[in-house]
């Protein structure tokens, strides 16, 4: 059992750390997106006007796209987010709610980067999702085995002893794991359950042997796409459909609009309600004929198993939550990251004490430093690059601005790994801590003039990370062999 906990934790530890950290940040996805688009603070428009102008822009710039997916403006995200196929790939752009154009807003992925990284790890489909789902299961396994092998779970329950080497790391590992144990368990299980199709594909392949996409249609029949008839027909005005949806959805409001085959006789407009007032992710969906504007279907999910799944999914993504709950998700996620980091550090300490040959463990120790201290810095560089890169440049035709921001994260991670492999571990910790101090100080300053709660919160959070890096700098040491 102890070996399973140790090795199971070690093998997925770096991924779990990255997933937990990015997941914690993804809780504030709209807020981060807003911070990374400072132009948005001065923009206000009503959602119907924003949707109309957004559709007008898409009519001009993506008229032949097979579908448009719009996320409607709301309080946390005051812009329209449009996803469409531009002939070569899917493009996601934030549209100005007053003009409908993306040109006045800087090109960035914003908080969506952390959201996608959390379950895709920026890897091609389906590898990232398989790894993330496996990590979810591994966390569940590590929690169960951890509770079983922890003989002194009660004795050590509220114990945190500082400056006692391995003992202190074990205390940190225990306390961060145990204090939020129910959260860790539910978040890991629901995370693995939401990606069940990646880790248990057999049932899906058996039920839908010819076309797996039919599963998604059966899951949400109201959003079933139709094949194009290749007969040009103008799209009916969106306003009557929007108003009908607002009337039927009531307090839940409108969250998303999908338009399949725009400007075709077979066009379909799907309007989905918001789900901030309930935990489950099950939505109220309306389906309109896109060419006439007539309502075709009013669908509300009632199937028990789908509802149960939507509750699990809703628990994981926390879209229902208020500000306080979101902060609790954030800090509990950070506790999971700290528990993972301390576990990985303990693993190296123990192995170096018990094994004769230290070569491999020295490499792992250095990689630990590169990942556990380096990754938060890489994420911080994502924020800094957002403010340092010019809004318009001729280079963006080859690499888009949003991609440059993402490359900064991976490029810096690579540099950190190279630094760590080259130097001794104490020096690595000192170097990375210094970079971290500068990086997080920069983020807290970049929020100037701190004119809203988002800039305040991000600056304060980066100051918490800054103090952590100061602590790490002052206490930099290699794994003791005595």
């Amino acid at each position: 059992m102890a070996r399973l906990h140790e090795w199971g934790g070690f093998l997925v530890g770096w991924f779990v750390f990255a997933i937990a950290l990015s997941g914690s940040l993804a809780v504030f996805r709209p807020e981060i997106s807003q911070w990374m688009r400072p132009e948005l603070t001065s923009m206000t428009a009503n959602p119907l006007h924003a949707t109309e102008t957004g559709i007008a822009w898409l009519q001009t710039h993506a008229a032949t796209a097979p579908a448009w997916y719009l996320t409607i403006e709301e309080k946390r995200a005051p812009y329209i987010e449009a996803l469409y196929f531009n002939g070569t790939r899917y493009v996601e752009r934030a549209l100005d709610p007053t003009t409908g154009s993306p040109d006045t807003i800087r090109d960035t992925m914003g908080g969506d980067f952390f959201y996608r990284f959390h379950f895709e790890l920026q890897l091609p489909h389906p590898f990232g999702r398989i790894i993330s789902a496996s990590c979810g299961l591994a966390i569940v396994l590590a929690l169960i085995t951890g509770v079983i092998i922890h003989k002194r779970i009660f004795a050590d329950f509220f114990t945190l002893r500082f400056y006692k080497g391995q003992r202190s790391w074990l205390d940190v590992h225990n306390i961060t794991s145990v204090v939020a144990l129910p959260f860790h368990f539910i978040i890991a299980f629901s995370g693995a359950a939401t990606l069940w199709a990646q880790i248990l594909p057999a049932s899906l392949v058996t039920t839908y042997p010819q076309n797996i996409m039919k599963y998604y249609t059966d899951l949400d029949p109201a959003t079933k796409p139709l094949p194009s008839k290749h007969q040009t027909t103008p799209l009916a005005p969106i306003a009557p459909m929007f108003q009908e949806a607002e009337k039927r959805f009531g307090d839940n409001g409108i969250a998303q609009i999908f338009i399949y085959n725009p400007n075709d006789k077979s066009s379909v407009v799907i309007i989905k309600s918001g789900n901030e007032h309930h935990i489950g992710y099950n939505t109220h969906t309306l389906r309109f004929d896109g060419s006439s504007g007539h309502l075709l279907l009013d669908s509300q999910e009632k199937r028990p198993i789908v509802t149960a799944f939507s509750v699990l999914y809703g628990l994981h993504i926390a879209r229902f939550s208020n500000t306080l709950t979101r902060w609790m998700y954030f800090f509990s996620g950070l506790l999971l990251a700290i528990a993972t980091a301390s576990g990985l550090h303990l693993w190296v300490i123990r192995k170096k004490r018990t094994k004769q040959n230290h070569t491999y463990f020295n490499i792992i120790e250095r990689l630990n430093t590169a990942v556990l201290i380096g990754l938060p810095i890489s994420f911080s560089l994502f924020f800094i690059t957002n403010r340092l890169l010019p809004l318009h440049s001729k280079f963006y035709t080859t690499i888009s601005r949003s991609n440059m921001e993402i490359y900064s994260v991976f490029f810096s991670s690579l540099i950190f790994i190279m630094i760590c492999m080259y130097n001794k571990n104490i020096k690595n910790q000192k170097i990375l801590s210094k970079i971290g101090i500068v990086a997080f100080l920069s983020i807290s300053i970049l929020g100037y003039p701190w004119n809203n709660t988002i800039t305040y919160s991000i600056s304060l959070t980066s100051l918490i990370f800054l103090s952590t890096y100061i602590f790490l700098y002052k206490n930099a040491r290699s794994c003791s062999l005595k």
Binding site: R152, F154, A155, D156, F157, F158, T159, L160, I175, V178, V179, A180, L181, P182, F183, F185, I186, H278, I279, G280, V311, G314, L315, T325, M328, S332
Partner: protein
């Protein structure tokens, strides 16, 4: 709501009474530690049942349970740590 808060508080108090630090700070006898440990696990399960009973949905009950117990544990741990550190100042260093 109040009954849920009380249940989470009692659960965390039982866990702290069962811990080594809790025994030391609260001057509890080690003899009954097994009983307190059993009661703590039972209280954790019962508090989940209570949350499910009091909440409209299972999802909301799980949210309240995981964060309620988490906050209660954190507050209890911090309180024990504080009490111990205040008492620790009074101790006289052995000659």
């Amino acid at each position: 709501m109040l009954i849920e808060v009380i249940s989470d508080t009692i659960t965390s108090l039982l866990f702290s009474c069962a811990s080594y630090r809790g025994e030391k700070v609260l001057h509890l006898h080690h003899k009954y530690c097994h009983l307190r440990r059993c009661l703590a696990w039972v209280a954790l399960g019962l508090s989940l049942i209570l949350h499910i009973d009091q909440s409209k949905t299972i999802g909301f009950a799980l949210i309240c349970w995981m964060f309620g117990t988490g906050i209660a544990f954190a507050c209890n741990g911090a309180a024990l740590g504080l009490i111990e550190s205040f008492r620790g100042q009074k101790t006289v260093r052995r000659q």
